[in-house]
Amino acid sequence: MAGAAEIVEADNAEAIIATIETKSQQIESLLKQYKHIEALKTALDGSSPKTLDERCKSANWIAVQKAIMAIRDIDGMLNALDAEYYDILMKYLYRGLSTGDEPTCDQCLMIHEKLTERAGLGCILRCLTDTANTV
């Protein structure tokens, strides 16, 4: 039973990586057109499928990181973002903070402060407790 689930997972992983690649091309084109907010939404949209595969998670993370690093106006971005994206964004922020790379960490810290003001401590707590859907 577990074996079958793993095989399904692998097939799915290939499919998911393919979708992620198309998504990242979309994101890059949006970034070139300076539509940062749409780029971030696209990046965060496709990242919720429940996948355990590390490659999918890394691929998702790379796409989201590109979108996050391109953002200059944090307040404007958070105004335009819907509340349902806050939790996923917070998870990706913590992933960014764990990388240790200075520009990423600076950007993530700035967004983290503003996002906590908006979303509150519950958002952080949901990130900590959600062991099933890690990013």
Binding site: E102, C105, L109, H112, E113, L121, I124, L125, T131, T134
Partner: protein
């Protein structure tokens, strides 16, 4: 620079406020035992996701939470050998007195400089906000002391190994210097008296009576 420190500390503070929701939870495996689950990590359902907050490659903070305990591990930046030594001394000094701090862990987690362990009992005795403020102030004081120590050092002085040490280490060294000085003085005195004795012999050993001849003749 100051802004990034402020953001880093704000991030840690918010994460701690969210993570510090601890309750009493007796051990599931052994009856009548009550252990901090974050240290043992035996049951995955009792642990939350650990969170690593980095400011840059050298400075990071790992926050691990469980149902009844929370562990915070800090790594501070050490620019060169000198700072490395000073930081190690200072933090060892604190870790040895961990009993007094209550929330301090005696040994830091592997890969970090200092660790705190907060359990539900601490949260019951002490206020949660004050615990968080304590940790943030600890980090701020660390940064301030480090900057103060570095301001007093010029490049030339560094090269010739003359340095101003952080205050607490300085006090300890001053104390041990005073003790050594007193010991030295006493030893010097002993050595000098011994030398004097070997030159002249005991000074009061021979006390001849001052009698005149007339007195001697009178008596007899």
């Amino acid at each position: 620079m100051a802004n990034s420190l402020r953001l880093y500390l704000a991030c840690i503070k918010n994460t701690l406020e969210a993570a510090m929701c601890l309750q009493n939870f007796p051990c599931q495996e052994v009856e009548r035992h009550n252990k901090p689950e974050v240290e043992l990590k035996t049951s995955p359902e009792l642990l939350l996701n650990p969170v690593l907050i980095c400011r840059n490659e050298a400075e990071k903070c790992l926050i691990e939470t469980s149902i009844n305990s929370l562990r915070i591990s800090l790594k501070v930046k050490q620019a060169d050998e000198l700072e490395n030594i000073l930081t190690k001394k200072f933090l060892r000094f604190l870790s040895m007195r961990a009993e007094a701090f209550q929330v301090l862990r005696r040994k830091p987690v592997q890969g970090y400089d200092i660790s705190f362990l907060i359990t539900n009992y601490h949260c019951e005795e002490m206020q949660k906000q004050k615990l968080i403020d304590f940790i943030i102030q600890f980090m701020e004081a660390r940064y301030r002391e480090r900057n103060k120590g570095l301001e007093g050092i010029s490049e030339h002085k560094r090269k010739t190994r003359c340095y101003r040490v952080p205050e607490t280490v300085h006090v300890k060294q001053q104390l041990s210097k005073d003790i050594a000085k007193v010991k030295d003085d006493q030893e010097w005195e002993i050595i000098e008296t011994r030398k004097a004795l070997s030159r002249t012999g005991p000074v009061d050993a021979y006390k001849p009576k001052n009698t005149s001849i007339e007195e001697e003749l009178k008596v007899s």
